[in-house]
């Protein structure tokens, strides 16, 4: 059995660790609240914008006139992977990176072989993961999380849209964690460009809309805006999911530390008891010997 002193030192060290993890949990909880508010606020806007786009495209026979809807053969593909800058959040980063790799090895196997597949990483963890496994990371936007505002995000989205417009990439995929609740994230991979116009129920087409100034103008205005909002929403989602994942991970770590402390304390008490028993036996034995 381990010595008393060693057990005591271990208990002390586990206690310190527990303090750290529980503090990190608190911090994450506070940040999660903020991130969650942000995502909940943007959802109605994003949904309504999507709705309007739907009613528009319902009445439009050929949507092909927008540069963002051109469906070209996917020769060059860009995958945007959203992770976090910091670790200690359980499987958050690993799961999403795996999802990204799974996507490229199944859907874009050919492009990968021909070296026509690039990654853009938002978040250091994903970048490290991919680089370590030999994937081509062309750029990163890790500083984005320092200041996660619509303007900053829109800049990146614009960059991606320009690259698509200039035919540098024929397809852009967005891989990120969608925020479900504090304990759950859903790994999502969605096609960012070209825009997929869904087949809609014809109930929207029943309205005979007036378009001001013109249908084409509105489409031209709305699609880029909708793309930026979609991108922003993905980042807010991932941000909230990150804090949720970290909070859960730290909660578990704190629980584990508590169990460990319990076990160690029990072990310590047993060892102490054994030592006392040993000492008493020695004293009694000594006294017996003296009586002779």
């Amino acid at each position: 059995m381990a010595g008393l002193k060693e057990i005591r030192t271990r208990i002390a060290s586990v206690k310190t660790t527990r303090q750290v993890t529980s503090a990190m949990k608190m911090v994450s909880a506070a940040k999660l609240k903020k991130a969650q508010d942000a995502i909940l606020q943007i959802r109605p806007y994003a949904e309504k914008l999507h709705e309007i786009l739907l009613s528009l495209s319902a009445s439009l026979e050929n949507v092909e006139d927008s540069v963002y809807t051109q469906d070209r053969a996917p020769e060059k593909v860009l995958v945007i992977l959203v992770t976090s800058n910091r670790g200690l959040c359980g499987g958050f980063n690993t799961n999403i990176s795996k999802k990204a790799i799974e996507l490229v090895t199944s859907k874009y196997e050919q492009q990968l072989r021909l070296d026509k597949l690039d990654f853009l990483c938002i978040g250091k963890q994903g970048e490290r993961y991919l680089k370590h496994r030999g994937f081509k990371v062309v750029a990163n936007e890790n500083s984005l999380f320092d200041e996660l505002t619509f303007d900053n995000v829109a800049k990146i989205a614009e960059g991606a849209m320009k690259a698509f417009e200039a035919k540098e990439y024929d397809r852009i995929e967005l891989v990120y964690n969608q925020f479900k609740n504090a304990a759950m994230q859903e790994q999502t991979a969605e096609q960012f460009l070209p825009v997929e116009m869904e087949e809609q129920d014809d109930n929207a087409a029943n309205y005979d809309f007036i378009y001001e100034p013109s249908k084409e103008y509105i489409i031209k205005e709305l699609i880029p805006r909708s793309l930026k909002i979609q991108f922003y929403k993905a980042l807010l989602d991932s941000h909230a999911a990150e804090h949720g994942a970290r909070m859960t991970a730290m909660h578990q770590a704190t629980d584990n530390a508590t169990t460990l402390i319990g076990d160690l304390t029990l072990q310590y008490n047993k060892a102490r008891q054994a030592a006392i028993t040993g000492e008493i036996l020695e004293i009694v034995g000594g006294a017996e010997a003296l009586k002779g």
Binding site: Q41, I42, P44, Y45, K48, L49, E51, I52, S55, L56, F150, Y207, D208, F209, I210, Y211, E212, P213, Y217, I218, E221, L222, R225, I229, Y232
Partner: protein, 80 residues
């Protein structure tokens, strides 16, 4: 008619209104009850609404889009 004014940050207004004036890209216009369905982009300007008690409210916007469908109006703006 039911009106919602939404920005990426929050819902600015939600409720029944009698009248709404909007700064359309091609010029300002006004909508009353039973207006024909319309989708229009908005320019910089001021949205004026009159609620059921004929109280006026003003919102300054930089641009956005409006959809009116069966007396349900959705106004999406970047900022107020």
């Amino acid at each position: 008619m039911y009106l919602e004014i939404i920005t990426p940050d929050k819902k600015v207004f939600e409720g029944e209104v009698k009248l709404i004036q909007l700064p359309g890209s091609k010029g300002a216009f006004e909508m009353l009850k039973n207006h024909a369905p319309i989708i229009s982009t908005l320019g910089k300007g001021v949205i004026k609404i009159e609620d059921m008690d004929s109280k006026e409210q003003l919102f300054e916007i930089d641009g956005g889009v409006v959809e009116n469908k069966a007396n349900k109006i959705i106004v999406l703006v970047e900022s107020v």
